[in-house]
Amino acid sequence: MPLIQLAKAVGGLGEGESIEIIGDDPIFELGIREFCDARGFVVERSEVKGREVRLELRPDRGERED
């Protein structure tokens, strides 16, 4: 379900916009990073506090570091 909601939410992102998502499970971050890999997004920032995981995503502009 998080992937479904995220797919719908990123569809509305405009140029230069980012989105912050919050999950309540450590495995959530892995799924989101795989989503970003597949759909061309970058995790700008990630924060983990206990079970809460906050991630900020933006469209990949091709500036990723290897």
Partner: protein
């Protein structure tokens, strides 16, 4: 390592043959996840798999057992060859996600209720929510023409927009898909 180029735009075909809740949950969970990741997903429904998409009708509803309205006459249907058996199937078949049994531990209907309670408690999506999610993500739903005719199904029987197609279309879709699954 980026795998973006290998997922977005790829096609997948998922066929749901089973009328059981656990199989339907698996099929729609995978369909929704793949669609969210950028794949083009086509779902097919055969025989009891169509029950997952049926409009709900209470088990003891008079409309279910005393329905004398003409059977659907839409795409794929040949009403001239219908018999009373179509009405019997209509009445006996599960209608909608909340009437699907489990393949194991059904326990006269208690099993599905327990599973739904567990899903709620874990804040996981119920089958109805997954179906809506698939619809919103552009997953297509196709019913097998043979099943539409033999089970006397029409577009008005379903909670989503469906196509009616035959095995030739399924063959073409499977041939061009990177992922094919049957549940």
């Amino acid at each position: 390592m980026s795998t973006g180029a290998q997922v977005v735009g790829r096609k997948g075909t998922i066929l749901l043959l089973s009328g059981e809740l656990d199989k339907a949950l698996a099929a729609f969970e995978i369909a929704a996840g793949m669609a969210a990741m950028g794949m083009e997903i086509r779902m097919w429904f055969l025989l009891f798999g169509t029950n997952a998409l049926r409009k709900p009708l209470a088990r003891l509803s008079p409309r279910r057992w005393l329905n004398l309205a003409p059977l659907p006459d839409g795409p794929g249907r040949n009403p001239e060859t219908d018999t009373v058996l179509q009405r019997v199937l209509h009445a006996l078949n599960a209608t909608g996600p909340r009437q699907l049994p489990l393949s194991q531990l059904n326990v006269l209907g208690v099993g599905p209720a327990l599973l739904r309670q567990i899903l709620d408690r874990k804040q996981m999506a119920q089958l109805e929510t997954l179906i809506r999610g698939c619809e919103e993500l552009g997953v297509s739903f196709t019913i097998c023409q043979v099943c539409v005719d033999s089970m006397a199904l029409g577009p008005e029987d379903f909670i989503v927009d469906v196509d009616v197609r035959g095995v030739s279309t399924y063959t073409l879709q499977v041939a061009e898909s990177h992922y094919n699954a049957v549940f």
